[in-house]
């Protein structure tokens, strides 16, 4: 449509564009620029060329944090996707009880990370946590879950899966409900059992949904921060220092803004790749649904 006055579209868009430019786009350039300096927020920044990047790469800090975050992401994505799919299949039926259980699982996704993290810290407490006590009473070997470098990241991954599985479940449920019931009925009449129907109807239709849920949870797990900050502060001995926490630590603990900015730039590069993957999954899922419809 033709605007009533030529200036109108610009006025309507002005606040949006201004804020996006100022708080999204401009910071990217600031980060790139800051990454070339040494700066502790107090004294004058000193130009340092690419040395921030070089040091991060040479010290192994960068590969360490990328590897750790990737491992964490793989565990969280595979855990929450398979669990979410299983829950969606089991809970995809009418009735009050099913509704209540779906609500309970999804509520964890809505409640704040702080609440979830504190709650599981208490449950997993190495001395008086209920898990430790019950394991001990049953003579099952237990661990200092959050205080042991071998188990801490697993514990964080477990809590993250507990929190975000509700998201996967809800998206899978929407996917399941878009499968026409007649398809299942026709297959059942032809003698297809439950497993055969899953294999030849449900799974192929859900595959694009799965790709979408997986890439979205991948991005979520790369952005994990709250759970680390509250439960372990990156420790013990860096075993839970995930990417965003590493950036945070460089700014607010060691006051190396230049290094933090270099990490931000690398992090953003990784996110772009993950997001392109995500959009690709989304476009396949759309195309497939159009074909189905």
């Amino acid at each position: 449509m033709r605007p009533k006055h030529a200036i109108h579209p610009y006025l309507l868009l002005a606040p949006t564009i201004a804020i996006l430019a100022l708080f999204f786009i401009y910071p990217l350039f600031v980060a790139m620029d800051d990454s070339l300096y040494r700066w502790d927020l107090l004294t004058e920044p000193r130009y340092a060329g690419l040395s921030n990047y070089r040091e991060l790469a040479a010290s192994g800090a960068l590969s360490g944090v990328i590897g750790r975050t990737l491992g964490f992401a793989v565990v969280v994505v595979s855990g929450s996707c398979s669990l979410g799919l299983g829950l969606a299949l089991l809970l995809n039926r009418p009735g009050r009880i099913y509704g209540a259980v779906r609500g309970a699982v999804f509520s964890a996704y809505v409640v704040s990370w702080v609440a979830v993290a504190l709650l599981w810290m208490w449950i997993l407490d190495a001395d008086s946590g209920v898990v430790t006590r019950v394991f001990r009473a049953l003579h099952i070997p237990t661990a200092r879950w959050l205080a042991d470098p071998d188990t801490a990241l697993w514990a964080i991954a477990f809590v993250t899966i507990w929190k975000i599985t509700g998201y996967a479940m809800v998206v899978f449920l929407a996917g399941l409900q878009s499968i026409p019931r007649s398809l299942h009925e026709a297959a059942a009449l032809d003698g297809a059992g439950r497993l055969a129907r899953f294999r030849f109807i449900t799974w192929p239709t859900l595959r694009p949904t799965t790709a979408f849920v997986a890439t979205t949870s991948l991005i979520m797990s790369f952005q994990a921060f709250d759970v680390v900050r509250v439960m372990t502060q990156g420790g013990p001995v860096k075993s839970t220092t995930l990417f965003v926490y590493a950036i945070y630590e460089e700014v607010f603990v060691t006051f190396r803004v230049g290094r933090a900015s270099a990490l931000v730039v690398v992090f953003f590069g990784i996110l772009i790749v993950l997001t392109l993957l995500n959009l690709w999954a989304l476009s396949i899922s759309r195309r497939q649904r159009k074909v189905a419809a």
Partner: protein, 277 residues
């Protein structure tokens, strides 16, 4: 139902067991949190794994309210979350209208900018934003908490998509009646998109109420502290055995959101599951 499901007794029993296990895995932690919050220090020290408090006490809550100005922090958090959600909708409507309905130079660029910003999360911008706001004294203000989120790129995109399906004739008719552009945007298009906007508002409100990351990095003193930051501090200050106090804080923090969730579960689920369509 009839052609598909001939539940065998074994199948039904397995399903029942599955339901119980799931319900336990997701409800028991909340129950544990709530039960712990009514315990006394002695219960926590002597029998931490015994679920039932020796007597239901409100000591922990009294301590939370004594040591944390819950009312003030809650108010700060609610004002912040409400302002963000309201601003996002107030700004997404005119922008979405321009992008969906009006012809003008630079429209493609503007739309691409919105799409690009969907790729940039706060975890990427916080360091530069902090280093920009710090020196000019803008950290520790409500503005630093609200303004960076006043525009949601995703929200703008969703409003634009929703407006595409509204026929131009409605807008033309309103113009013929002499309605101004702002009146068209807020008075006519806004109400037409009510379900979309309601879902967006709720989702944004719930998200920012619970947000820990941004308030943590943008505030260092307590006059704009939000509740999640304060409750997390409860643990850091604790001596390690005062879990009943931490859990009482947790209950206080989670109750408002669980209440909103109970009332508006359908819209929130729609907002979450709907982002893929």
């Amino acid at each position: 139902m009839s052609t598909l499901d001939r539940p065998t007794p074994v199948g039904r029993a397995l399903r029942g067991v599955g339901l119980v296990v799931i319900a336990f895995a997701w409800v028991a932690p909340y129950a544990w949190m709530t039960l712990t919050s009514f315990k006394s220090t002695r219960d926590i020290v002597d029998a931490p794994a015994w679920p039932i408090p020796s007597s239901f006490r409100t000591d922990a809550y009294e301590e939370v309210f004594r040591t944390v100005p819950v009312g003030r922090y809650l108010l700060t958090t609610l004002v912040m979350a409400f302002s963000i959600a309201a601003l996002q909708i107030a700004l997404a409507l005119p922008a979405g209208y321009a992008l969906a309905k009006l012809r003008f130079r630079g429209k493609k660029v503007a739309f691409l900018l919105v799409l690009a910003c969907m790729l940039i999360p706060p975890q990427v911008t916080f360091v530069p934003v902090f280093s920009l706001l710090g020196p000019v004294g803008l950290v520790n203000t409500m503005g630093a908490l609200v303004v960076p989120f006043a525009v949601s790129a995703l929200g703008t995109f969703l409003v634009r998509q929703a407006l595409l399906s509204i026929p131009d004739e409605i807008i033309e008719a309103a113009r013929l009646d002499g309605a101004s552009e702002l009146r068209i945007v807020y008075g006519i298009l806004g109400p037409l998109l009510r379900p979309t906007l309601a879902a967006m508002f709720l989702f944004s409100f719930v998200y920012h109420y619970s947000d820990y990351f941004w308030p943590l990095v943008m505030t260092t003193d307590d006059h704009v502290r939000t509740l999640p930051v304060a409750i997390a501090l409860l643990r850091e200050q604790g001596t390690g055995v005062r879990w009943h106090v931490v859990m009482a804080g947790n209950v206080v923090l989670s109750m408002p959101i669980l209440a909103v969730f109970a009332l508006a579960q359908r819209q929130i689920v729609r907002a979450v599951a709907g982002t893929r369509t």
